[in-house]
């Protein structure tokens, strides 16, 4: 079986990571920001799986499962905050909540 070179997998993960980072910076809708963070985390997960494949070890995949679990926990807190943002400001635009300077 022809295997994918590690560089290709890591470059793909890097591209995904940068796409996610761009989304976090550019988007103003809180849902898309949370989605972009998810893309960044999954890019890191992909890099772990690729690295695990390079060493023929399961560690990378174990790490990916941990990342999935943590992303679920993080997004549940995030969605709770989204509910409160909508409840108070009636919008999904994060710029609505900018009373603190900075």
């Amino acid at each position: 079986m022809a295997s994918v070179p590690i560089e290709h997998a890591l470059i793909l993960a890097g591209v995904l990571f940068i796409l996610g980072l761009t989304g976090v910076i550019v988007r103003r809708n809180i849902f898309f920001i949370l989605l972009s963070i998810e893309i960044m985390l999954n890019a890191a997960g992909l890099a772990f799986v690729a690295a695990g494949a390079r060493w023929g070890a399961a560690d990378g995949q174990v790490m990916f499962i941990f990342i999935l679990t943590m992303a679920a926990a993080e997004v549940s807190v995030g969605l709770a905050l989204v509910l409160r943002l909508v409840g108070r400001f009636r919008t999904l635009d994060v710029d609505a909540a900018s009373q603190l300077r900075g």
Binding site: I6, A44, F66, E74, V77, A80, L81, A97
Partner: protein
Amino acid sequence: MSAPDLIALLPLLIVAATTLAAMLLIAFYRHHQATAGVTVAGLLLALASLSLTTPHIPRVVTPLLVVDGYALFFLGLVLATTAVVTALSYRYLEPAAENVEEYYLLLLMGALGGGVLISARHFVSFFLGLELLSVSLYTLVAYTRSQSHRIEAGLKYLILAGTASAFLLFGLALVYAEQGHLVFEDVVLSDPSLFLLSGMGLLIVGVAFKLALAPFHLWTPDVYQGAPAPVTAFVATVSKGAVFALLFRFFGGVRIAEQPALLAAFGAIAILSMLAGNLLALVQDNVKRILAYSSIAHLGYLTIAFLVGGELGQTAAAFYLAIYFVTTLTAFGVVTWLSTAEEEAEALDDYRGLFRRSPHLAGIFTVALLSLAGIPPTAGLISKVYVALAGVSVSLWAPLLVLVAGSVAGVFYYMRIVITMWRDPAGDEQAVSFSAGHAPAGYLILNGLTLALLALGVYPFFLIQIIERALGAGG
């Protein structure tokens, strides 16, 4: 897992068990005082169990965790700090009309995450500890529904800390791709490959985010201002202390000063943090924001101790962190005392005439501010000199120069708060009651912390001996 393994993990196990006990208690019997009592009792029990653990160190428990003198010292610091924050929170949350019991669960889980971070020696435990701490903090920052800027602070912290976690994980993945295993070991940077170099770079960005080091410090003032005052104290101490302890463990025996790439990266971060923290604090008129920028500067000073590395650097950093914890808790303790969950005392004007309204409380705040500024006879001076001397030993002249200049700038903004407290009250502010009858735990703790600051300023060798013994025992 054998009995000595379990005993070595006892402090962490007790904190985890307390979390469960408190959760069950809330399910059956919702009572603020009882929940806070269980939390403090569990934390004190975990502190006491440190002495049971001591004969068994150093010990590697599973590939994930290592319990040694270094871990026990920081674990003690984190547990004691969490107990103090719990006591301070109790009075702060008491008037809140909503459910406040879950707050203590989150504090306990944050402390557990900090403890795991401190004893981590593996990427998995590093990641799990960090997320346990961070996810608890997202919720704590946004706790109490009454104020809309809580939501904003919570969202900002969630987005930025989530991004930082992604940076960290991607960095770890690249290091793993190069290294082939997940256990921490001395990083070899003599002839780094592209993967390793970019991995370390991403890792440093992630950690600098969590420690609020410049240029990744932008979230700090907003989160400090928006979060409830006791939570701010928790973010400033436990969260940063645990990540810093991990940083030392990760770079282990590496002498940073002898690695040009790392020295340049961390040196630049230290200098930028000291500059940004001290200069931006000068133009703030909100006490919580001033303390936020001051914490950025302090973490910059601390990075100098990290640059020194080795035993000297570790001792200096442990000493500095211990004093920084006590000072920060005192300062935020006073802010917490003056605040309630509905109304925060954060504007500089809220502190006008505090010397007339409550000389005792104003005196405590003054000692804390003097210690932050590093003015004798407080402990802050000793810890700053200790770090500076450690820096001199490896000739870190540029960061040291900034440290001295930053300390001079620091005197201005700390003194500004002190002078405000001497000014006449703006109008109808009533006297602040500060007595043991009102909330004995908070009263005793604030006085005790202040005495500790003064005592350690006069006789620091007591603490230094404890640290040297802890680090000597397999640190």
